[in-house]
Subunit: 162 residues, 3 copies
């Protein structure tokens, strides 16, 4: 989109909830549109963002999250948040809001980022821990690498841990 400006941003995605997946995707996208090189390293729960089985089913839980509001601005008491179906309800609500803002679902967003030149990496250690193979991840993931390789790739730029 814009010309490259020599700047680099490396994002470590370590969370697998819907509300912590989008900040990484939005920042990556914004950086690419500014001509900044982007690397994303998916580790721990962040692998859920690129795991074909889970990437489009990320959830946001109201439990233990005092920031979660009902549409009326009231917090959700833990005793209510615990009820079956509440996680699904809050997830559906957030997905609708994301859609209204014209942001794509996770798989399409990653494709968009990848097409714009963003590099996606799976963390070897976390994949071993979760018994995941390269084939379990979406095809936009360029490579599975270790933390040392990630440190090399991120040299000379900003690193953000989400």
């Amino acid at each position: 989109m814009t010309e490259e400006n020599g700047r680099k941003l490396s994002i470590i995605c370590s969370k697998g909830t819907l509300d912590m997946a989008y900040p990484g995707l939005v920042l990556a996208n914004a950086a690419l549109m500014e001509g900044i090189d982007v690397n994303i390293f998916f580790t721990f729960w962040g692998l859920d963002m690129v795991n074909k089985k889970t990437m489009n089913y990320l959830k946001v839980s109201p439990l233990g999250n005092p920031s979660m509001h009902m549409p009326n601005g009231m917090g959700i008491p833990n005793l209510v948040g615990m009820l079956p179906g509440m996680t699904d309800m809050t997830t559906t609500m957030m997905k609708k809001e994301i859609e209204k803002l014209d942001f794509p679902p996770v798989d399409e967003f990653l494709e968009m980022i990848h097409d714009a030149g963003g590099k996606l990496y799976g963390c070897r250690m976390a994949m071993d821990m979760m018994h995941l193979e390269k084939e379990d991840l979406c095809e936009e993931v360029d490579e599975v690498i270790g933390a040392m390789e990630f440190m090399e790739i991120s040299e000379g730029g900003n690193i953000i841990f989400i």
Copy 2:
């Protein structure tokens, strides 16, 4: 306080809990006292930190947070953390500790940071998602901007995601 030293720190505040609000405020304040330029970008749940209705009512939940201790050093079992009133109790406990250390409440802390030259920004996308207008935010928020503008503002400095 100190002279400017050309260094820059941009903090992305994405959490709305009391225990994740203070680290950002404390770091921003420390950086300003060192003569570092500070930008804070409030996004997702972090908007609760600058939302006039919520900023002084941030909570900390014991639920699903195994690090939360009782004063006797014991963890809080989830079955107990779930009881009505436990979130309020842990919140009150932490607020007292913060006060004892002479740290101001969130609104005054933000005023202090702003007066010292820190710039505060609301994230347009997150505000749209949560149906918030500029008027809903405290007056210390300088501007509502998008992620691309934030990437420009943060150029040449450190970026921290909280």
Copy 3:
């Protein structure tokens, strides 16, 4: 291990759960092996990682964490995650996986990082808040410092907030 390359990485550890302790330790270790200077600043719940009483008993909770899977790939419903013993079960599961990958427990990992030249710092403010003294922390912690001193130490390198 490798020669120093003039690069610097400062990691702020603010979480006390097992799943958010290891990313910091793994990154610190990888950076040191790449010849990068490493500083770790333990604040808020992150103090649990260097508190002698808690460091080897960090837990991971399934509650309010929709990313947490059962071995069969199914999520853990909040009503089940709330049952006594579920936090212990998920913690034991993760500890086993970490061990299988030949990663040491937290105390040994910190010793390894310290021996390789990594500097460990306790955050004075958070220690005051939690009524901790230097003696409560493991001996690998080099010093207890304030946020301003940490800002000075981190100058000219990357800063990551976990």
